[in-house]
């Protein structure tokens, strides 16, 4: 069964802006799915419609087989949402935020208390349960939102830029939490601007641009389409002119740094042997950009009107 099915979803705002031009999307149960796109592409509108915060102009949404219009309560019961912005009551304690959320989903008090404890411990917030939420740090507030979204044990969790603005350490620990939640059987849809995050966590991906899905495939197939990889090479000794190697595009960035664009079939061994032949020693190598980021930019740049390919 699909966790989510979108059929010809369209949205035109009152000011005439056509945010979605007919979105069709399916997310399988148990998936960790990335929904990516540049700012203003329509991601938030899609999430808003799925979570009933935005009214669709036309089309349908089905969550675990329940149509969002006809079986609203059943469809909504399956869904947990972690929005982009902090939206809990800043004057309430962490524990009350979760207990209220459980109550909104009809969870009996005893079970709500157990689920609250479990989720707060999972998010490493149990010792903060009686803290008034406005006193928490930014990273903790984000974790409160994830714990809140999980307290009614949703089958589908939507994470809308959950790690925006948090430091690397917290981001990594949140990735680990998200993986754990997914492994426990919860389907996750993730939107993020950190493409490394999507590449690291997600198995399937859709890219949305100008209100249309311009790419929808599994992550491995998508990355396999990357024909050219970009590397930065640090050199042991300074050089004055960029070396010329057939099949590669090499630029001199500084006298000890090269930017290399190399076709996948070319192979790094061949590159290094040619550089060695020219008496250029490489001390370190790194990707110029994240692989998914490169693909993402290629897709967006080559498809400025958002027409499905």
């Amino acid at each position: 069964m699909n966790a989510l099915s979108l059929r010809n979803l369209k949205k035109t705002y009152n000011n005439g802006f056509e945010a979605l031009k007919g979105i069709d999307l399916e997310v399988e149960a148990g998936d960790f799915f990335a929904l990516l796109g540049p700012n203003g592409a329509g991601k938030s509108t899609v999430i808003g419609i799925i979570s009933s915060l935005v009214n669709a102009s036309s089309g349908s949404v089905s969550i675990f087989g329940h149509d969002l219009r006809r079986e609203q309560a059943k469809a909504k019961s399956c869904l947990g949402l972690v929005p982009q912005e902090v939206n809990f009551n800043q004057f309430d304690t962490v524990k009350n935020i979760l207990l209220n959320q459980a109550g909104y989903y009809g969870t009996p008090r005893k079970l709500a208390l157990q689920r609250t404890e479990y989720c707060l411990k999972q998010m490493d917030l149990w010792d903060r349960r009686d803290t008034v939420s406005r006193r928490l740090s930014g990273g903790m507030k984000r974790r409160v939102m994830i714990a809140r979204a999980l307290v009614h044990a949703p089958k589908l969790l939507i994470l809308d830029e959950p790690t925006a603005g948090v430091d690397i350490e917290i981001r990594r620990s949140m990735w680990s939490m998200m993986r754990q939640v997914n492994q426990q059987g919860t389907t996750i849809i993730l939107t993020t601007h950190y493409l490394e995050e999507a590449e690291s966590l997600c198995r399937n991906i859709a890219i949305i641009n100008h209100g249309r899905i311009v790419e929808n495939s599994d992550m491995a197939s998508l990355l396999a389409r990357l024909h050219v990889e970009h590397f930065i090479l640090d050199l042991a000794r300074p050089i004055t002119v960029a070396p010329v190697i057939e099949g590669c595009h090499i630029e001199l960035i500084t006298d000890k740094t090269l930017a290399v664009a190399i076709p996948k079939e070319h192979g790094l061994n061949k590159l290094f042997s040619r550089l060695t032949a020219q008496n250029i020693d490489v001390t370190s190598l790194k990707n110029k950009t994240n692989r998914l980021e490169q693909l993402f930019m290629d897709l967006i740049d080559s498809n400025p009107t958002g027409v499905k390919r």
Binding site: N89, Y104, G106, P108
Partner: protein, 254 residues
């Protein structure tokens, strides 16, 4: 899905909200109305004499109690719902599988409870100045609950349509307070010149105050049945309008 738990959660949250901030919600009406009773009821009232056979103090007590019920049931819902909108935590309810009528019931119940609680506080203060023998308990309680419901619903609509904190203070200051004062809190409508009596009949608060006054001290300028009919009519109309706004998502959804 257990809807009773969901409704209980909203109502409990609303009640704890105003109880937690009782110095802002329950204490001020006690002080303000004590001053009303002292200045208007005691100092000035002793020189006015009786209205419809009741002492001036006894005459104004029901109006002041109901005026407090009106302003606080309204204030509770408008401030709570608008704050939720402003902080975006109304989204918690919109995302959850809670039907619109339940969101409305939860907030309105919170408003009714605060209105009635303030009414009880003001009634207790009034006992420091006069003795009240309730004429008809059923009418008194029923009209108090219905009036609180009318203004809790009105507060809900105001909060939904409001786009700024200014918008939630305009109606209480420029509509509710004048209508309350002109609704016969301090005088009998019979004391007004002819044309103003007719104008006053267009003020719904006049009907509610008179029904409450009848329930409390047995004095009224208005037919009680008509008062209940008008109050009930307002409840039905405002409920339907609130549900329409929620259904369309006006003011809360894109």
């Amino acid at each position: 899905m257990n809807y009773c738990i969901a409704l209980k959660t909203i109502v409990t949250k609303e009640i704890f909200r105003f109880i937690r901030i009782w110095p802002q919600t329950l204490l001020p009406p006690a002080i303000t109305t004590a001053l009303y009773f002292l200045i208007f009821g005691k100092l000035i009232g002793d020189r006015i004499g009786t209205i419809s056979g009741a002492s001036y103090m006894d005459y104004i007590v029901p109006g002041i109690i109901l005026m407090s019920v009106i302003s606080h049931s309204y204030a509770n819902v408008v401030s709570s719902f608008y704050s939720s909108k402003f902080q975006h935590n109304i989204e918690e309810l919109l995302v959850a599988p809670i039907p619109n009528w339940m969101i409305l019931s939860g907030y309105v119940s919170g408003g009714i409870v605060r209105g009635l609680l303030v009414g009880v506080v003001v009634a207790l203060i009034s006992l420091l100045f006069t003795d009240i023998n309730v004429n008809n308990v059923t009418i008194t309680l029923t009209i108090a609950v219905l009036t609180a419901a009318v203004f809790a619903l009105a507060g809900f609509i105001n909060a939904i349509l409001a786009e700024s904190f200014d918008d939630i203070s305009i109606i209480p200051n420029f509509v509710l307070t004048p209508l309350s004062y002109l609704g016969g809190v301090f005088y009998s409508v019979d004391m007004l010149p002819g044309v103003w009596q007719t104008v006053s009949m267009g003020n719904p608060i006049l009907y509610m105050i008179n029904a409450f006054r009848y329930g409390l001290i047995g004095v009224t300028d208005i037919d009680i049945q008509l008062s209940f009919l008008i109050t009930g009519g307002f409840i039905i109309t405002l409920t339907l309008f609130s549900l329409y706004l929620l259904h369309k998502g006006i003011g809360i959804k894109n």
